[in-house]
């Protein structure tokens, strides 16, 4: 298994390790309810959370942040720039295209999954998420 790790290079700060710097996660969602839930869940699991309120804002936040996030969670339906657009934009930027991106969707139909994959999403979580599956998904891509 180590072979693969060298191929991709690895981010490997365990979020729970007390001495390690916190792993940063960017969440992009236009719903404040969702944002609060994400923040609560992620912070409780030891992650540092930065947030953007839509695709455009997400890009601004990404641009401005000092700590490049280890993963991005994004909603799909958002004003100004939707999740697909946001993912595509991130993937186009050499600095960020290696960041795993997870979509939050209310329901997953094959068509949506396909679009998300095409846009460059690493994976998805179905809303309403439970903390376990959210953290599981983040661990999977940041382990």
């Amino acid at each position: 298994m180590p072979d693969s790790a060298t191929v991709q290079g690895g981010v490997s700060a365990s979020p729970t390790a007390a001495d390690a710097p916190k792993t940063c996660v960017l969440t992009v969602d236009d719903s404040r309810t969702m944002q609060m839930m994400l923040r609560n869940t992620l912070e409780a699991a030891g992650y540092e959370v930065i947030q953007g309120e839509d695709g455009v804002d997400g890009l601004h936040v990404l641009e401005a942040t000092k700590s490049i996030p280890s993963a991005i969670i994004t909603d799909i339906n958002m004003p100004r720039m939707d999740g697909f657009g946001f993912i595509e934009a991130v993937r186009k930027d050499d600095r960020f295209r290696r960041i795993p991106m997870i979509c939050l969707t209310t329901e997953v139909d094959p068509e949506k999954k396909k679009r998300a994959r095409e846009a460059g999403a690493t994976g998805w979580i179905v809303k309403p998420f439970n903390p376990q599956s959210l953290i599981g998904a983040i661990r999977r891509v940041t382990a």
Binding site: M101, D109, T122, N130, P131
Partner: protein, 731 residues
């Protein structure tokens, strides 16, 4: 943790209150023929976002309906249905149901009857069906409420029961080969491996082999390409389903095979075929969204009078504290910051000025600095007030529904036009405008606009029109409700007022005064108590509500052309410009906005005493009713009651919203200043002639005079001979 959840729930309800107006305005523009895709998207997003949040809190009834609604809107978005007026109507009605379901959920509204939900769900489903083949499957493709797991911050008891069946022997080998696309999506075989490893919870068997045979020589190696494939051996107890789920994310970016060695295969019977990622989500819910089977709980007694139950619920429902937070646009805060910055600079110039040697130069400098600080203070104050300002839009848009429903009941065809929705008012006022506006609009639908037959007979367009507008007018906000109906029938109003003993039989009233009668308690011109306005509340309640906000109502009406109600409201409840006056040893404040001019009483000032005890003063050929403020307020003259000498006293000429003037006599007039308005009735009661209080520089309290109420009392006293108050004065 529960409180955190509660807090988020409050945010969710707050967001719903923001999304519903977006929905409302979007559907309104669709209704008026604007099919901008962005509008459709905004509408879709609003419902989507309500659904998403509701699902997180397990608000199943809301989720269910929002889901059906969303699916129907999706047909619009994907252009499989056209926004015909019929479909838009369906959406608008569904929006009302959705809004009621939100109120039901937050405890501010009644339980929405199941059959009502079912009816609208049915209409939505027919829209979905119209959208073609994608209809039923589209809606089925997503989890129905039964599948939703309400989010809980504690209690991780989910998901644990599907994977391992310990007694199952054998092994399962998962082979996979990532394709280039996997890397493009920032995924990594490592992630897949760690997810597979997580399946092996008991740490029984976990063998990983990597096939490096496809690796090119280093020189030819493209880091963006995939050359490796893996084979992972897991215990046989791991189900195909669980493995497939791991590869759900990777889709066709990763080839995958599952093979089993020995044992009986996984338990739990027929695992779905590998690779069919969508199978799991596509099945179950189809049936559950049939409208014919509404969600059973809670069992509402079908025909047993449910009203008392509902009322009890309503009574018990906790009053949701109106969100104590406000959202402020960043530029406003920035503007305030700038001003504060300038203030700091101004203060240091002031300090510098103060340290100058005594003399004229220093005095001038200090004066100049002081002037600067004064204007900055004012700007900062305005700026802070601006933070509290909110567009009336949210309330205005709610009125669309009011008019829609009211005109349906009244069987009239009426459109509501909104103007100036972006006009900003103090948020307290915005919040408290809903009830009075609702009532006035219902009234306009019910009594203002004529019946269709009558309109046609009078050569008017069939469709009635009500314009609800907001705008600034001389430091106040004026909200107008204008209908193109038949106007107020003055003869009838006067006749009813006489019949009901509101005015004396021989009263001769001006047109304006007749119009004003509509606001008299117990007055209702409707011959029958209709469904709409006749709910035991009259326009007097509206007037009271507006007055409680520091506002005034006035009416303009032209027979056959229409009626306009103007609500004039203060921009902010917190601060106003006032004129300090002295009245029998009391310092009081008269609002500058209602003061027209001031004058002194000289020996040559013409004051006429009227037979009924009233007084009038001549001002440029007009006679204005004159009132001594101290008398009006029942304050005793410290110098004794023997003859209050008007000579040398000051007069304030004031006017109310409808322009009626009066002269108020005070002992003396002092400076003007801004005063902070403090409620007097919070701990006390309403006091006639006093609207509020303020706190002076020395910490003492000064009362603010309610000019309009004094003007109308005085005017009425002069005009209405039968008024007992005037008799008493005459005696």
């Amino acid at each position: 943790m529960a409180s955190v959840n509660d807090e988020i729930l409050q945010i969710f309800f707050q967001e719903c209150q923001e999304q519903l107006p977006v929905l409302e305005s979007g559907l309104s523009s669709l209704d008026s023929g604007d099919y901008d895709p962005e509008t459709v998207n905004a509408v879709f997003r609003a419902v989507h976002s309500i659904k998403g949040g509701a699902a997180s809190f397990g608000l199943e009834r809301l989720v269910r309906f929002a889901h059906t609604f969303e699916s129907a809107l999706d047909c619009l978005r994907s252009k499989t249905v056209e926004p015909t007026s019929e479909i838009v109507r369906t959406f608008i009605q569904s929006m009302d149901v959705l809004s009621d379901l939100v109120s039901e959920a937050d405890g501010s509204g009644e339980h929405v009857p199941d059959d009502r939900i079912a009816n609208h769900e049915k209409s939505l489903l027919s829209v979905i069906e119209m959208g073609g083949g994608s209809g039923p499957s589209e809606i089925g493709a997503s989890p129905a409420p039964a599948d939703f797991t309400p989010m809980a911050f504690e209690g991780f008891d989910l998901e644990d029961d599907l994977e391992l069946t310990p007694d199952s022997s054998g092994l399962v080998i998962v082979g996979f080969r990532p394709l280039d696309d996997l890397y493009r999506r920032a995924d990594d075989p490592r992630n897949i491996l760690s997810a597979l490893k997580a399946l092996n919870a008991e740490d029984e068997v976990f063998l990983v082999e990597c096939d490096k045979s496809a690796l090119p020589p280093l020189a030819d190696l493209d880091v963006e390409k995939s050359y490796l494939s893996w084979s992972v051996t897991l215990p046989g107890s791991v189900t195909d389903e669980a493995i497939t789920e791991v590869f759900d994310w990777t889709g066709d970016a990763c080839e995958m095979t599952i093979s089993r060695i020995g044992g009986d295969g996984p338990e739990g019977g027929g695992a779905p075929p590998a690779g069919e990622e969508s199978a799991a989500t596509e099945e179950a819910p189809t049936v559950q969204n049939e409208p014919a089977k509404p969600a059973p709980p809670p069992p509402a007694p079908a025909s047993v009078t449910p009203i008392p139950v509902r009322e009890a619920q309503k009574a018990r429902a906790p009053r949701r504290p109106q969100d104590a937070t406000i959202r402020v646009d960043l530029p406003r805060i920035d503007g305030l910051m700038d001003l504060v910055g300038e203030m700091v600079i101004a203060m240091s110039s002031m300090e510098a000025a103060c340290s100058m040697p005594h003399g004229q130069a220093r005095e001038d400098e200090v004066k100049q600095c002081l002037g600067g600080i004064k204007s900055l203070t004012r700007d900062i104050q305005d700026s802070v007030m601006g933070l509290r300002a909110q567009p009336v839009k949210s309330v205005f848009q709610r009125m669309q529904r009011v008019v829609r429903e009211a005109s349906q009941i009244a069987k009239k065809s009426i459109i509501l036009e909104l103007e100036g929705e972006n006009t900003e008012v103090d948020r307290t006022i915005v919040e408290q405008l809903t009830d009075p506006l609702t009532h006035m609009l219902r009234n306009a639908v019910d009594h203002g606009v004529e019946s269709t037959e009558k309109r046609l007979a009078n050569g008017k367009p069939k469709e009635g029109k009500i314009i609800l507008s907001a705008g600034h007018r001389s430091g106040r906000i004026v909200i107008s409700i204008k209908d193109d109906g038949g106007g107020i029938n003055k003869q009838r109003v006067l006749q009813i007022a006489k019949e009901k003993g509101i005015v004396s039989l021989d009263a001769a009233l001006s047109d304006d005064e007749i119009n004003e009668l509509i606001f008299a308690p117990g007055f209702s011109t409707a011959a029958t108590i209709s469904d709409l306005s006749g709910r035991g509340v009259g326009m007097d309640v509206v007037k009271q509500a507006i007055q409680a906000l520091g506002g005034r109502v006035s009416i303009k009406s032209e027979e056959g052309v229409g009626t306009t109600f103007d609500l004039s409201l203060p921009l902010t409840l917190a601060v106003m410009d006032g004129m300090f006056v002295e009245c029998r040893g009391n310092r009081m404040v008269v609002p500058l906005a209602s003061t027209v001019e001031t004058m002194k009483i000289y020996p040559e000032t013409r004051i006429n005493r009227l037979p009924n005890g009233g007084m009038a003063v001549a001002l440029r050929g007009d006679f204005l009713p004159l009132v001594v403020l101290g008398d009006e307020l029942g304050l005793h003259d410290p110098a004794g009651l023997a003859g209050y000498d008007l000579l040398g006293k000051d007069i304030l000429v004031v006017e109310n919203e409808s322009g009626a003037k009066a002269a108020i006599v005070v002992d003396s007039i002092h400076q003007q200043a801004q005063v902070v308005i403090k409620s007097l009735d919070k701990n006390y009661k309403d006091v006639a002639g006093v609207s509020a209080a303020t706190i002076l520089g020395d910490g003492s309290v000064a009362l603010i005079i309610d000019v309009p109420s004094i003007v109308s009392t005085v005017t009425r006293r002069l005009d209405t001979r039968s008024n007992p108050a005037s008799k008493k004065r005459a005696a």
